[in-house]
Amino acid sequence: MSGSRVLAIAVRILRQFRHDPRSVGLILVVPLVVMALVGYLVGDAGKEPLPVSLVNEDTAFGEAPGSPTIGTTLASALEGQAGLEVSEAPDADEAERRVRDGETAGAIVVPAGVTEAVLAGRPAQVTVIVVGIEPGLDDRVVGAVRLAMAEVAAAAARGGAGLPQVTIDRVPVEGSKDLSVLDFFAPALIVVFVFLFTFMLTSVSFLRERSSGTLERLMASPASRLDLLLGYLLGFVGFAMLQALVVLGYATIVLDVKIAGPTWLVLLTLMILVIGVVNLGIALSFFARNELQVVQFIPLIFVPQVFLGGLFWPVQTLWPPLRLLSQVFPVTHAVVGLREVMVGGAGVAEVASRLAALLAFAVAMLLLGILALRKQRA
């Protein structure tokens, strides 16, 4: 062993870093960004209150109008919670519609006569309407109601009454009750696979096209930029769809994941996503000198999408600027759209806005790809 040679190698490596400021920047900045995101997402602080609507039909009992009922106590307990933003709904149908249309994350329906039933010692039930396709979101709504019920019980105990026997009935507006965790995560996993592999494959193979000089040859041929991009698209979309079919097939056949909606819609959603990602890969490959730099793009473009795309933490609870950012991410629309189709059984009309967002991303990336190629033929 020679100390000076070891030192020479170490010094050379540090010198090389000095000539690659982007790598150094990424190595130092990316962990900070990721840690800030995780700290924010896992921590309790800074979460946006969830909009829920409340239908309280249990406003009075017996001959004592004006005295507190379980419904009114629950209402004030819910309104006192920082995590919720409670609005009143006229009836259960309207409350359900608001959940279905995404205006609220959930609804609490306290039927008339709950207090009387409890006083008479009969079992009573409060209904919590949830979306049913995003467990993180539903659990927060149900959790908040449980917490409020505990306050109601404590108030009842203070008033000398016994513990009220009120159960919470969780009703999903989409999806069914007997879905496993895997059913919820399968759409997200598929999106992650498709995005990541398509991005890496296209950007690396386009990078090679550039560094090997074959791109120069293509540019000197009668092929137009559009020919080139469409050819790439056709090849990679074919390949990515094969991958999607394999992943989807394994998930449904072996892991018994359910696809409530039409399978072709799942594939269509993935296809539009892939079209965007192929062009994203092509465009970004122009900013990379080598394969290492392509890999460096992954934490930059992919990690934020995974964290903010509704895979683990519901988009609705994000700080508004982050929520806005998440709406720019194709992964958000793909994950939410696929969940709606696979878990919620949505049809084309229901995910049309998601598909439109993905399509807009695809078109924007196609234009970016053409622009990047234009720089090549100057």
């Binding site: 000089g213 074959t214 040859r217 540019m219 137009s224």
Partner: protein, 241 residues
């Protein structure tokens, strides 16, 4: 005779660098023109302008009667300095791909692939992936790919750099055969004995033409024994001439 290349007052700048500086150049169809000059004289820039890869900063360029670009691309073959091939594809797959790209039908591309593998003496290796080929074989495959569509005009950018002397002779034999069959060839080189094989030589220095003629004419006019010496004479006398 029709002109294959008409260049008038061509300039191309890269920032402050003037790679081409008012270059005039006419090439007749059927010529085998050698473009000779040191590194940085503007040879590659000129070839890239002719291939439609670079836009001129000034002056006019016509290639086979049109502006360089996609309209004439199918009639031009462009051979890059270093082999530009798909490493994972076989020789034949590369040839078929470039043939198809330049407008051949699938059947024609397959026939041509066979024909051109034989022409560059690589028969028997059609199915070998390019990454397993030696440097010389790659360069021959590269040549075959640039002419698989039988271009009227072949642009060769230092085609023999890094090629052993024996293979160099064979490549030049190919060029002459193609030229004899009517292909106009523009070849850049800084190897003077290669320039000697061209029907006409243009000496390029600092983005300008400093002399043009057959190798013998250039030597005679400069009173020099070799083209190298002639190049130096022309370059030094440029100011006075």
């Amino acid at each position: 005779m029709a002109l294959a290349i008409e260049v008038a007052g061509l300039s191309r700048t890269f920032g402050a660098l003037r790679a081409l500086d008012g270059l005039d150049l006419d090439v007749d169809e059927g010529e085998m023109l050698g473009l000779v000059g040191p590194n940085g004289a503007g040879k590659t820039t000129l070839i890239r302008v002719l291939a439609g890869l670079l836009r001129p900063s000034g002056g006019t360029v016509r290639v086979l009667g049109s502006r360089p670009g996609r309209d004439v691309a199918a009639q031009i073959g462009y051979m890059t300095q270093s082999p530009a091939l798909y490493e994972d594809l076989s020789i034949r797959d590369n040839l078929v791909f470039f043939g198809r790209l330049f407008g051949l039908s699938a059947a024609d591309a397959r026939t041509r692939a066979e024909e051109f593998t034989a022409l560059v003496e690589l028969e028997g290796r059609e199915r070998t992936p390019v990454r397993l080929l030696s440097g010389g074989m790659r360069q021959r495959t590269n040549l075959a790919c640039s002419m698989v569509h039988r271009p009227r005009l072949l642009l060769l950018d230092e085609p023999t750099v890094g090629v052993d002397p024996l293979l160099r002779l064979r490549l030049w034999d190919h060029f002459r055969t193609l030229n004899a069959h009517g292909t106009t060839i523009l070849v850049t080189t800084h190897v003077m004995d290669e320039a000697e094989r061209c029907t006409r030589v243009v000496l390029l220095s600092d983005g300008r033409s400093i002399g043009s003629g057959t190798p013998a004419e250039l030597r005679g006019r400069a009173g020099a024994a070799t083209l190298e010496e002639a190049f130096l004479v022309f370059r030094d006398s440029r100011g006075d001439a």
